[in-house]
């Protein structure tokens, strides 16, 4: 495999392999010289048609730690705003000799189109396509869970039997989709909790349990609670009456936080809207893994870039 488009494509061995390589990449951050010469001479292009803080800077840092040259290309301020299509943009980047393209696009399947086209020969890394997938986010979430559970003895382990509850805007969430597939592969048991209006049609075919009551889910004592942001920019209809009601019914507030087990992880892929889906106390508590997720994101992206680019054939 030369591309990373979806966590659905990863089997257990490949998934654990990526997490293990990321463990070694995490060690680099603790060294005197935080840089490896591994991808010297390779060019990575960040092709971002949608806004991003974490993912773009995380890929940038990961590529630079591996000595690759990185170019940031965002739709704003580029020829895309003059009407250039994906095909011409891709061919332009190919002509510049890109070895990998990290793409984020508002259209589901954009990364796959690029990977299957003959416009560009580079490895394609999906950094979020519409409401479809965001594989490196799911990988860093799994890495964070494994690290909290097993610490330095994480290598080689999966997430067998871990009970993960994903709460919020499942309908628009590529993070939720990527997590569901990856967590199932790793052996975790996933529950999704959301208002019925924010569950996609076809969710009956997902390997998850569906719940509509956050209080019941909290009292069920999950190992991980993952809160998702309400993606207002993708909402073109009224999915719930108002934000106060959403927050009361589906937000992780101080009371629900208190009722969770002391060792329950509270995760959030960011960006957080404090006071809406998660309270400030929950976001800042010791159970919250939000900043660990960001730090681990760099290690995961280093691992993926290494596995896709170091060897000519790719190893994912």
């Amino acid at each position: 495999m030369r591309h990373l488009l979806s966590t659905r494509d990863l089997d257990l061995e490949a998934a654990v392999g990526i997490l293990d390589v990321a463990e070694d990449m995490a060690d680099v951050a603790t060294r005197e010289v935080k840089k490896l010469p591994t991808l010297r001479g390779k060019t990575v292009i960040n092709l971002f048609f949608e806004d991003s803080t974490r993912t773009r800077t995380s890929f940038e840092l990961a590529a630079k730690r591996l000595s690759a040259d990185l170019i940031n290309f965002s739709a704003k301020g580029s020829s895309v705003s003059k009407g250039e299509g994906l095909k011409d943009t891709a061919q332009t980047l190919a002509a510049m000799g890109a070895d990998a393209v990290v793409i984020r696009h508002s259209a589901s399947g954009a990364a796959q189109v690029l990977a299957e086209s003959d416009w560009i020969d580079a490895s394609i890394l999906n950094a979020g396509d519409g409401t479809h997938e965001h594989p490196t986010q799911a990988l860093l979430d799994a890495f964070t869970m494994r690290k909290r559970l097993h610490g330095n003895a994480s290598r080689g382990r999966d997430l067998d039997g871990l009970r993960v509850t994903i709460v919020g805007d499942i309908l628009h969430s590529r993070v939720a989709r990527s997590n569901v597939w990856l967590l199932r592969t790793l052996g975790a048991i996933v529950t999704v909790v959301a208002p019925a209006t924010l569950l996609p049609s076809g969710i009956d075919n997902w390997p998850v349990t569906i719940g509509y009551d956050l209080d019941a889910a909290v009292d069920d004592g999950p190992d991980v609670v993952m809160m998702l942001r309400i993606q207002a920019e993708r909402m073109h209809a009224a999915y719930f009456p108002n934000t106060r009601e959403y927050s009361r019914e589906w937000g992780l507030d101080d009371d629900r936080l208190r009722r969770l087990r002391p060792d329950t992880m509270v995760m959030h892929p960011g960006p957080m809207v404090r006071g809406l889906e998660i309270s400030a106390a929950a976001a800042d508590s010791s159970r919250s893994t939000v900043l660990e997720q960001v730090a681990n994101g760099v290690s995961i992206r280093m691992a993926v870039l290494y596995l896709l680019l170091a060897s000519e054939g790719g190893a994912l």
Binding site: E23, L66, S311
Partner: protein, 181 residues
Amino acid sequence: MTARTLLQPADITRALTRISHEILESQGDDSIAGLVLLGIPTRGVALAKRIGALLDELAPGSAATGSLDVTMYRDDLAGQPTRAPSPTQIPAGGIDGKTVVLVDDVLYSGRTIRAALDALADHGRPRAVRLAVLVDRGHRELPIRADFVGKNLPTSAEEKIRVRLDEVDGAEYVEIIGGAK
């Protein structure tokens, strides 16, 4: 393919004991405290631990041992299937100002050691770097030589040297495979 055993377990132990004595002598008046043994995965790590234990018996104070993964520094990554890196463990005292002895099982082209020297530079600045290997089979492609050699084995490039150690493989021998005769 014919396989011929070249070193038995007793030979391996004898070679490592001699290497330990030589390392100690080369330290001169310096104390063993300034010594760091870094094994190169996989079998170099096991060998470094054994030499560390032998040094413990020979001299007061213990030599620090660890491991140094060189995967990310190799110059042949593009040509072969991607290798999974192994953990690097630098002893708590670091390597600045210490004498580092790199330990590996077989010295061949010298490219692994070149990668190790690059990797080492990213972890600090040792006072000196030495190289100890169980087997030197010749055919160097770089200006690199070992300071401490368990056994020199002249080989042809068609032959393969296979090292097996109890800690890693559950068996202990060195054999030569293939080639003429």
